[in-house]
Structure formats: structure tokens, C-alpha cells
């Protein structure tokens, strides 16, 4: 009978490297979310407020981002652009790919959020003499932000998990690093088991801090 002896020692020895890679994973996810939120907000507004080419640009972005595999989206920024002579470093590829994907999903969340704020809020603000900018920044956006807060948290978790695709394009974030060590030591199961725990802890930290923050932000 086949017998597998667990050897945890090599994994423990490279734990500092894995944790370092975990930080990189977090960095990539946060950066992609910041870009994704900014672009997603723009896409949502373009889709709602504009007509013509810009609207269709936004709609196409959202459709592609939501309805094709993330891996393909990454490959586009990697091999696709590579074939066109634009060679991006893995870090840029993963951030671009994740940002593209997050922007598409978040755009729809934002759109739902804007639609959930009643028009009467706009009238009320305008009647007080607020201009369009003041109405948006002081009245509409804060309410939208509350509505999309939990979807944004979920998307952040997704960004962390999706960043594991980095290993498919040779990027040594948490999964890439794990793959690197695992293939050198052949302790594949041990490495990925430990890495799974690291992912789990990262996700739990995100969810926990999100909950703390929401209790402070939303008192109504």
C-alpha cells in the first residue's frame, strides 16, 4: 500500500517567506480594489448617465469582466498584450487583471446603490440650494457607500482569493511562492495545506476589520 509520510519541517522553515508572500497577496488585492472601486464608480456613472460610445464602452467592460473566466482576463493582460509586443511584468499583469475584474463587478454594485437612493433625496438637497456636486458628495455618495459596503467587502475577499491565479503567470504571491517551494521539495500537500490556512486567516482578518469599521462608520 502506498504510504505518505508527512514532513512539515520544510514548510515551517519557509514560513517566513510564505508570510512575506502573503503580504504581497494582500498588497496586490488592496491595490486592485482601490483601482477597481475608482474605475467601477466611473463605469457605473457612465452606464447610468451617458448615451453613445462611452456608455457602450462601460457596458462592454462590465459584461466581459463578469461573464468570462478571470484567468482569461489575466491571460489577456499577459499573453494577449505580450503577443502585441507589450510585455508587462507579472505584478502589473495581476493588478491590471484583478482591477479589470473588480471594476466590472463593483460597477454593478454601485449602479444598484445609486438606484436604491430615492430621487426625492436629490430634490430635497437641491431645494436647500446645494449644487450638483454638493448633492452628490454630501447626500448621494454617502448613502450609496453604505449600500455597497458589504458587497465591497465581499469583492475584497474575492480579490485576495483570485490573486492566487498569479501562480499561472509566474508571479510569486502567496500561491506562486507556495508552488515554488512545493515543487522544489516535493512536499506539495504540506505546502498547500499551510497556505490554505494563511489564506483563511487573511480572509478572516478582512471580514473582522470590515465589521469593526462598519460599526464605526454607520450609526444609523
Amino acid at each position: 500500500m502506498f504510504e505518505y509520510n508527512f514532513h512539515w519541517r520544510p514548510v515551517l522553515k519557509s514560513l517566513p517567506d510564505l508570510l512575506q508572500a502573503g503580504l504581497l497577496t494582500l498588497e496586490v488585492a488592496v491595490l486592485s480594489m482601490v483601482i477597481g472601486i475608482t474605475i467601477g464608480l466611473c463605469l457605473a456613472l457612465m452606464r447610468m448617465k451617458l448615451e453613445g460610445p462611452l456608455k457602450w464602452f462601460a457596458v462592454s467592460w462590465i459584461e466581459v469582466a463578469r461573464n468570462t473566466p478571470v484567468l482569461f482576463q489575466l491571460f489577456f493582460f499577459g499573453f494577449g498584450l505580450g503577443a502585441a509586443g507589450v510585455n508587462l511584468p507579472p505584478y502589473v499583469i495581476i493588478v491590471a487583471g484583478l482591477s479589470f475584474n473588480c471594476a466590472g463587478y463593483l460597477a454593478e454594485n454601485f449602479r444598484g446603490g445609486f438606484q436604491a437612493v430615492p430621487d426625492t433625496q436629490i430634490n430635497a438637497a437641491r431645494c436647500l440650494g446645494m449644487n450638483g456636486w454638493q448633492t452628490y458628495t454630501r447626500i448621494i455618495i454617502p448613502q450609496v457607500f453604505r449600500i455597497v459596503y458589504h458587497p465591497i467587502t465581499n469583492q475584497m475577499v474575492w480579490a485576495v482569493l483570485m490573486s492566487s491565479l498569479g501562480m499561472m503567470i509566474g508571479f510569486r504571491e502567496l500561491s506562486g511562492e507556495t508552488q515554488f517551494f512545493a515543487s522544489r521539495t516535493f512536499r506539495i500537500f504540506e505546502y498547500f495545506a499551510v497556505t490554505a490556512v494563511v489564506y483563511y486567516v487573511i480572509v478572516k482578518l478582512i471580514l473582522g476589520s470590515s465589521r469593526l469599521l462598519s460599526a464605526r462608520l454607520f450609526r444609523y
Binding site: 426625492t120 430634490n123 437641491r126 431645494c127 436647500l128 440650494g129 446645494m130 454607520f218 444609523y220
Partner: protein, 240 residues
């Protein structure tokens, strides 16, 4: 003074206001009554430029509301408005709801704005709700909050669009009392209302609207006890 001349409003093919001529003097309380769809709300929206007009003019203290070069944001500071559906800002406390516009529109300091807010909230009887969020206020309290919020901009005119219609019957009184208080203080008011008692007791004049036309206008005694128009008679017979 509000001067409305030959005001026409269309929504597509729908001719909603068909040539309204109306003056409202400083200090006057005008109630506007009429059946649903007669254009009462639209009239208020045309006065503060929430709706554009197709013909005629609206002037506030001599300034043409719908002229291209009119700064409507500035003009609206003269015109407080309270809607049927209460629309407090849910993410702000009562105090913040009232203080926001004085601060960002009028450029008051934070302390000054909060002082104004507290004063106005006490004015409408919400002195004990300063720190409450709207979700913790009843409909009647939210309407009084909306009134305080409008008053904080020190408007010269107040427009009320059925401010009590969406309230539970037992909350109507507190809002009407607040409106009465304003009238006694000399505020110029146009009140679209279904509260005939209020229209009769508080207004200087009552206007009856019928299918986009101002059928009849006059002191409450005339409108309620000796109306001239057949339409007015019919309407009043129905609401009594």
C-alpha cells in the same frame, strides 16, 4: 413677492398648467386646493425651478426664476420647500440634517451652523431629538425636521406640498401646528393642502385648481362659503 404670469407647463403632450396668473405678497399665506392631477405640485416645482416651464414667467422679488443667467442655487435659498414624502437625509442626525446646508451652501462656520440647527429644531419642537437619526423619528417628527431644515436657510418664502398627506392621522396635527406657528410669525407661505380646516383658518387666500387652471381665488370665506365656480362647489361638496 412672487409674481406668476401666464405660466404654461407641458409634460410631453400633457398640458398640466394652462396659463396661471398669480401674485403672492410678502407675509401672505396662500392655500392651494384641488383634485389630484390638477397641477398643484407642478406649480410649486415651477416656482423653485425643479421643473422648467414652456411659456410665461415666474419672478421672485423681481428675479426671473427661469431666465438663463439666474443662479437658481442662490435663488432657492430664498425658497424653503417641504414635500409630501418626508425626505430627511438618513445618514445624518437631526442636527446634522439641519446644519448641513447653512454650512456648505451659505458658508457658515461649524459652530454657527450647529447653533442655527439647534435653534430651529427647538423652534419646531424637536429640541429633545437633536442627536437622533431620522430612522428613530416618526413621520410627523421627520416632517418637522424637514421644516426646520428649510428654515435654517432663512428663506423668505415657504412652499409646502401636501406636507401632511403621507402621515398617520394622529401625526397630522403636530405638523399643521408648526405650519400655523410659521404663519403667525409672518412667513410667506404657499401651502398645497387637502386639509380644508387649515386652509380655512390659516390662509389669507385660497386658490382652487381644476385641470391645470386656477378656477377661483379669494379669501377663505368666499371659497368655502360662497364659491362662484361650479367646479369649486362640486369639489368642496366632495371633500366635506
Amino acid at each position: 413677492m412672487i409674481e406668476i404670469r401666464d405660466l404654461h407647463k407641458h409634460f410631453g403632450d400633457l398640458h398640466v398648467l394652462k396659463g396661471i396668473d398669480l401674485d403672492v405678497k410678502k407675509g401672505e399665506v396662500l392655500s392651494v386646493i384641488g383634485s389630484s392631477g390638477s397641477g398643484k405640485s407642478t406649480l410649486l416645482y415651477c416656482i423653485n425651478s425643479l421643473e422648467k416651464i414652456q411659456q410665461g414667467s415666474v419672478k421672485i422679488d423681481g428675479i426671473d426664476v427661469h431666465a438663463k443667467n439666474t443662479d437658481v442655487n442662490k435663488l432657492r435659498q430664498k425658497l424653503g420647500m417641504v414635500f409630501q414624502q418626508w425626505n430627511s437625509f438618513p445618514h445624518l442626525t437631526a442636527m446634522e440634517n439641519v446644519a448641513l446646508a447653512p454650512r456648505i451652501v451659505k458658508g457658515k462656520s461649524k459652530e454657527e451652523a450647529l447653533y442655527i440647527a439647534e435653534t430651529q429644531l427647538k423652534h419646531v419642537g424637536l429640541g429633545d431629538k437633536l442627536k437622533n437619526y431620522p430612522s428613530a423619528l416618526s413621520g410627523g417628527q421627520q416632517q418637522r425636521l424637514a421644516i426646520a431644515r428649510a428654515l435654517a436657510m432663512e428663506p423668505e418664502y415657504m412652499l409646502f406640498d401636501e406636507a401632511t398627506s403621507a402621515l398617520d392621522p394622529e401625526k397630522v396635527g403636530e405638523v399643521l401646528d408648526t405650519m400655523r406657528l410659521l404663519a403667525e410669525e409672518g412667513m410667506t407661505m404657499i401651502c398645497v393642502t387637502h386639509e380644508m380646516g387649515f386652509a380655512r383658518d390659516v390662509s389669507d387666500r385660497v386658490a382652487y385648481f381644476h385641470q391645470g387652471v386656477m378656477e377661483e381665488i379669494g379669501p377663505p370665506e368666499q371659497i368655502f362659503y360662497s364659491p362662484i365656480s361650479e367646479h369649486t362647489k362640486k369639489f368642496l361638496a366632495n371633500v366635506r
